[in-house]
């Protein structure tokens, strides 16, 4: 069965998911994911012409709330969780471009 997933594709996907995988992981995941996708091929080849997708098992619409303010979290509580805080805000390392 020809592999449908190449190592390069897996590396690209890892980048999209911001996972800095080791070479070992790349190798292993490539074959493991390939096996899963192979198994999922039965769905890929199903004839679903004219069948709408189900995004929700429940048929709810128009769930809305009133535009009324509700107390949120205290800033101290929020910043206490932060790995690094500075000047009342969350500190992060430099951002190199418009994308990270």
């Amino acid at each position: 069965m020809a592999a449908r997933l190449t190592r390069d594709e897996v590396a690209h996907v890892a980048r999209l998911a911001r996972l800095e995988l080791t070479d070992d992981e790349l190798e292993r995941f490539t074959s493991q994911l390939d096996a899963v996708l192979d198994h999922a091929a039965d769905v890929a080849s199903l004839d679903t012409a004219g069948i709408p997708p189900t995004a929700h098992p429940l048929a709810l619409v128009n769930v809305l709330r009133d535009d009324v303010a509700v107390a949120g979290l205290a800033r101290d509580e929020v910043l206490a969780m932060a790995p690094q805080a500075e000047d009342r805000r969350f500190r992060v390392p430099r951002i190199l471009g418009d994308e990270t």
Partner: protein, 473 residues
């Protein structure tokens, strides 16, 4: 520049909605508060949190759609997945291929229609401040993130690429802003970021296919918009004429340097992996709701221009300024109270525009009276302006003001004598006037004005001169 080039501009405007609370949670939607004080598990995207949609935000978004003549449709939310520190969930909840409002248009004051492709709902991100030497992202040492703005409701309005000049683009933004403010959905404060504009710019040969476009960001004012389009147009034309190729990318407008610089390449379009947001259900506004939104819409700028133009017997373009200044209702009321339309429009655009605060309290009937007094010849133009200024300032009765200042119209007998004296003093000029040189009349009017201490009405003098000429045979 060799040969003719045409600029093609499409604008994307992000409009913050004037709701009390955020799009998906009850945190306050407020500008300028202390960092990270309007946050909760939902807008911070804490594990386990879930969004619940703000009814008023939907209402405002529908108002915008209706004001822009869009179809309002059943819509759903999608997730747009990408990583950035101002994004608490590292995905943005937005609308993708099933948006709320589609296929509308907007009318510019000069009557041109600009297509609106869509106006959809989405949540805003937090704010990042880059700390380093310049405060710009390049060369920064680290960044600080404030999530107060994260989750604020936005409507993104995507205009079709129907604009062709920087002036058009500026007119579009000005008109759109006026519409958004009129609907009540936005406060229109570009300086606070409630309204943000990105411009898609490309060039092409007239009649040819569309060129590659670049998206320009960081336009903080209508003026920047015009300057940036000018710069980008020249940049692209220079590139193409020297044999180069325009790369599809996002560019940053640098206000100080007056140029755009490349931010990222859109050629390899970022893969956002959109899929329907499973934590939210579809919005399907009922016909009743749509009708309620429609009937709650105030009169919009285009319609106000039309009404004033109709009352004033002129074109919507002529009265655009008055609508922009919010003087149209005053003028329309004054015309209804008997003011001469052209005069009322002129006086409003010139004299009232100088003191809009006072104009807001000006009684249309009094304004009409001043205009009537001028049209009847009881006040000269100069006198009318002075009376108007005082009525504006004090709200006094125009007749009383004229009386106090001694602005009595000069009685016709005295006027005849003054005209006769002026003619006698310049027989050569009179001969030329008799021969048909109309412009000589101006000199006579001037002399009569001087002789009567400004009390003569220019039009009345001209009328006398003409009558004398006619009867002279």
């Amino acid at each position: 520049m060799s040969g003719h080039w045409e600029t093609v501009i499409g604008l994307e405007v992000h409009c913050e909605l004037r709701t009390e609370t955020k799009l998906f949670c009850g945190c306050r939607n407020a500008f300028g508060d202390e960092p990270n004080t309007n946050v909760c598990p939902v807008c911070l995207g804490l594990p386990g949190s879930l969004p619940v949609l703000n009814r008023r935000a939907v209402d405002y978004a529908m108002r915008i759609g209706q004001a822009l003549h869009c179809d309002i449709r059943r819509s759903i939310f999608h997730r747009k997945n990408y990583f950035y520190p101002d994004m608490p969930k590292d995905y943005q909840v937005t609308q993708y291929d099933e948006p709320l409002n589609v296929d509308g248009w907007l009318e510019l004051p000069d009557g041109t229609r600009v297509g609106i492709e869509r106006a959809h709902m989405e949540e805003d991100t937090g704010k990042t401040q880059h700390v380093g030497v310049s405060g710009r992202i390049h060369g920064a040492d680290h960044s600080l993130v404030d999530y107060n703005r994260a989750g604020v409701p936005l409507v993104e309005i995507v205009g079709r690429p129907d604009l062709r000049t920087p002036d058009d683009a500026r007119a579009y933004v000005t008109e759109l802003r006026a519409i958004l403010v009129a609907t009540g959905a936005s406060d229109g404060k570009m300086e606070e970021g409630s309204l943000r504009v990105d411009a898609n710019v490309s060039v092409r040969r007239p009649g040819g296919p569309f060129g590659t476009r670049c998206e320009i960001k960081n336009l903080n004012s209508v003026r920047s918009l015009g300057r940036a389009i000018d710069y980008e147009t020249r940049r692209q034309i220079d590139l193409l004429e020297s044999g180069g190729r325009v790369v599809q990318e996002t560019r940053h407008w640098n206000e100080d340097e007056g140029r755009t610089t490349s931010m990222r390449s859109k050629e390899e379009a970022y893969d956002y992996r959109y899929f329907p947001e499973p934590d939210l259900v579809p919005i399907d506004p009922s016909e009743e709701w749509k009708a309620a939104v429609r009937s709650a819409l105030p009169v919009l700028p285009a319609e106000r221009r039309r009404r004033l133009a109709a009352a004033g017997g002129t074109t919507p373009g002529d009265v655009a300024l008055l609508v922009e200044l919010d003087l149209d209702e005053l003028v329309t009321a004054a015309i209804a109270a008997g003011a001469e339309p052209r005069l009322a429009i002129n006086r409003a655009g010139n004299e009232l525009a100088g003191d809009l605060e006072a104009a807001r309290h000006l009684d249309p009937a009094r304004f009409a009276t001043v205009c009537r007094m001028e049209a009847d010849g009881r006040l000269t133009a100069t006198q009318a302006k002075q009376v108007l200024a005082e009525v504006l300032a004090s709200g006094a009765d125009p007749e009383a003001v004229a009386e106090t200042r001694g602005f009595r119209p000069i009685e016709s007998g005295a006027l005849d004598i003054a005209v006769a004296d002026a003619i006698a003093a310049d027989p050569e000029g009179w001969a030329r006037y008799l021969a048909g040189e109309d412009k000589v009349a101006g000199a006579f009017v001037g002399k009569v004005m001087k002789a009567t201490g400004g009390k003569a009405d220019g039009k009345a003098v001209t009328a006398i001169l003409q009558a004398r000429r006619s009867s002279a045979g």
